[in-house]
């Protein structure tokens, strides 16, 4: 699905969009560097790696030697990207010859990484303090559950899942684009809202994060801090407990919201509370959502528009319900029919036929 790439890159664009000073500030943290590096296109990665131990600027023309002549375009793209993100810095010597050198901070961090294969943003709390931690499976289950009920929330805001009522800030985030909330009636799903539902979990995550961050600006929170925090978060170890006390208050606010999305799990200890990053969080910096996060199951649509979906998730059921009449549900099977009314209903909500067929 192309959207995924779009979203993912957009995020990096956002990073790139930041003014140089802020960028350099970002590069203070090794994790940002790492995340940025990983988000680069393959060729760019390679260059970065190659330049890692080169302190002197390298002449651009020399770099072009690295690739075969007929792939020059790709080379261009890579270089641009690097410059955009200020991983490479362009320097011109007196002979007006363009040559690149690497961003010192970036370089430094990376070198450090190579030596001691990446350290941790903050030490996990000793297990003595923490009460029993949820197992990874529990954690994942929790994350997915949270995430799904958030999505369900999107689909029909009327029904509120037990316990997880979303804070205003989050709701506001969704309002933008996903939900068309005409005042008075309950917000309904819009076209790209529906599109959104069809994305990979990871892509959705990014999308939401972007919305969240940009909305953060309105709330007068410095996006860079958020970004760095999010990226940091993604490098925490899955299932380890981290104390909240180590966080700045901005981060504390953020983490509450994230908890609602299921990115982290908050736990209250005796004297202090801590948060546990879930798979969703650790995947933040991943460019690829691994298969476990995308749920199994497939849909069979007969020519008589009867539809059989092999899935256990309520979410799937709900998504289908958007444009079809669910007839009955078995433990792992959802049987529905696409009827005129149902499809019209879908169009009412601005869902286009393409999207429906895409969904199937």
């Amino acid at each position: 699905m192309p959207q995924v790439m779009v979203v993912a890159r957009n995020f990096m664009d956002m990073v790139a969009a930041l003014p140089a000073s802020k960028l350099d500030m970002l590069y203070d943290s090794a994790f940002i560097c790492e995340a940025v590096l990983r988000s680069l296109p393959p060729l760019a990665k390679k260059y970065a790696l190659q330049m890692l131990y080169v302190s002197a600027p390298v002449v651009a023309s020399a770099m072009e030697e690295w690739v075969l002549s007929d792939y020059a375009t790709k080379h261009r793209v890579a270089i641009d990207k690097l410059l955009q993100l200020r991983v490479f810095v362009e320097v011109r010597d007196r002979r007006k010859e363009v040559s690149y050198k690497m961003n010192q901070k970036f370089q430094g961090n990376m070198q450090k990484y190579l030596v001691d294969g990446g350290s941790l943003p903050r030490e996990p709390m000793p297990s003595s303090v923490t009460a029993r931690l949820p197992t990874l499976t529990e954690l994942e289950a929790y994350a997915l559950e949270q995430w799904e009920c958030f999505l369900l929330q999107l689909i029909n805001s009327s029904q509120i899942e037990g316990g997880s009522s979303f804070s205003l800030s989050m709701m506001r985030t969704f309002q933008r684009g996903l939900l068309s909330s005409r005042d008075g009636e309950a917000p309904r799903l819009t076209e790209n809202g529906f599109q959104f539902l069809l994305m990979e979990t990871n892509a959705q995550l990014w999308y939401i994060m972007r919305e969240y961050i940009s909305s953060a600006e309105e709330r007068g929170v410095d996006p860079t801090e958020l970004i760095s925090f999010l990226l940091e978060l993604s490098f925490h170890t899955l299932g380890e407990a981290y104390s909240l006390n180590t966080l700045t208050d901005v981060q504390r606010i953020a983490i509450r919201d994230l908890a609602e999305l299921g990115l982290v799990k908050l736990q209250q200890g005796r004297k202090d509370s801590w948060f546990i990053p879930t798979k969703l969080a650790t995947n933040l910096s991943a460019s690829l959502s691994d298969s476990s996060s995308s749920k199994e199951g497939f849909v069979v649509v007969e020519t008589n528009f009867r539809m059989y979906a092999y899935s256990t998730s309520r979410l799937h059921c709900e998504i289908l319900r958007l444009f079809s009449r669910i007839e009955y549900q078995l433990p792992n099977l959802i049987v529905g029919a696409i009827t005129k009314e149902s499809i019209y209903g879908a169009f009412e909500n601005g869902i286009t036929a393409e999207q429906v067929s895409l969904a199937l």
Partner: protein, 288 residues
């Protein structure tokens, strides 16, 4: 779909490290530095994509073993990568010691230019890669990198060849980086047949630079890059009788064993040769 867009990135690199003491004793680059380079390289791979997967296999004079597997590292949390590396280096030392021990125990080969068990290491690597293939449809792109210093062991010829063909069959390129003095005919052929990269760096001190520049890139973006070409692969066979390479010789029609000069009887399959072309009809027909 997403997977397809990105999976070119994700790669599984099995690094075969030659820990032949006889070689490292007399190597230009001390083993410790070499190992440091290696660690850098492994780290850089992991850095490039958090889904990248690196396995290191050590091959000694008389045994081979797995010494590092990033998958169990990440399983225990990507945090303690450092710890795993520490473990790895510990493991490799143990291995070397143990290897030396069993070399001593079967004192068959103690001469200085004895080969490492390339065939064994390759076999292990391939088995591991097969397992990854089995793991599912979105498996990473596997490749093998051989860091070899010690000379080839002619007695491994058949075995190495078998592994090479098996690799070719499952599209696993075998890259080879020679840290030793002389070229390795085995690895030349391996890289040539499996369309991997064969490299013999001049300046060993900058080993990491070579590794990063040539071997760190994933298979997909290799197609763009200008990589060192393999020239003059030695395709000459070594005869079975004296293990010496020949460019013309006799081949047994039954078992294809190679001899440097004419024999009366095939030493491999034991079939008699008759110089004159026998006319078929004169031969007794055992069918009735």
């Amino acid at each position: 779909m997403t997977s397809k867009v990105y999976s070119d990135d994700v790669s599984l690199a099995v690094v075969v490290v030659d820990t032949n003491p006889f070689f490292w004793a007399s190597a230009a680059l001390p083993f410790a530095d070499f190992f440091a380079h290696l660690i850098h390289y492994v780290n850089s791979l992991l850095l490039l994509n958090h889904l990248n997967h690196v396995v290191v296999i050590a091959t000694g004079v008389s045994s081979c073993t797995y010494i590092f597997d990033s998958s169990d590292a990440s399983a225990s949390g990507s945090a303690d990568v450092a710890a795993t590396f520490a473990k790895a280096s510990r493991k490799i030392e143990e291995f070397i010691a143990q290897d030396a021990r069993c070399t001593a125990s079967n004192g068959s080969v103690a001469d200085s230019n004895s080969a490492s068990l390339l065939s064994g290491a390759l076999s292990l690597a391939l088995c591991y890669i097969q397992r990854v293939f089995r793991s599912g449809t979105r498996h990473p792109q596997p490749r093998i990198l051989c860091l070899q210093g010690s000379p080839d062991g002619p007695e491994q010829y058949v075995a190495v060849m078998n592994s090479i063909f098996s690799a070719q069959r499952s599209m696993v390129p075998i890259d080879s980086c020679i840290v030793g003095a002389q070229d390795s005919a085995f690895l030349q052929q391996a890289s040539y047949i499996t369309s991997g990269v064969y490299l013999k760096p001049q300046e060993l001190s900058g080993l990491f630079q070579y590794l990063a520049a040539v071997f760190a890139t994933d298979l997909h973006s290799r197609t763009f890059l200008r990589l060192p070409k393999t020239l003059g692969v030695d395709f000459r066979a070594s005869c079975f009788c004296h293990k010496k390479t020949i460019d013309m010789g006799y081949v047994c029609s039954v078992c294809l064993s190679i001899f440097c000069k004419y024999h009366k009887k095939c030493s491999t399959c034991g079939s008699e040769f008759n110089r004159v072309m026998p006319d078929l009809n004169s031969m007794p027909d055992q069918r009735q």
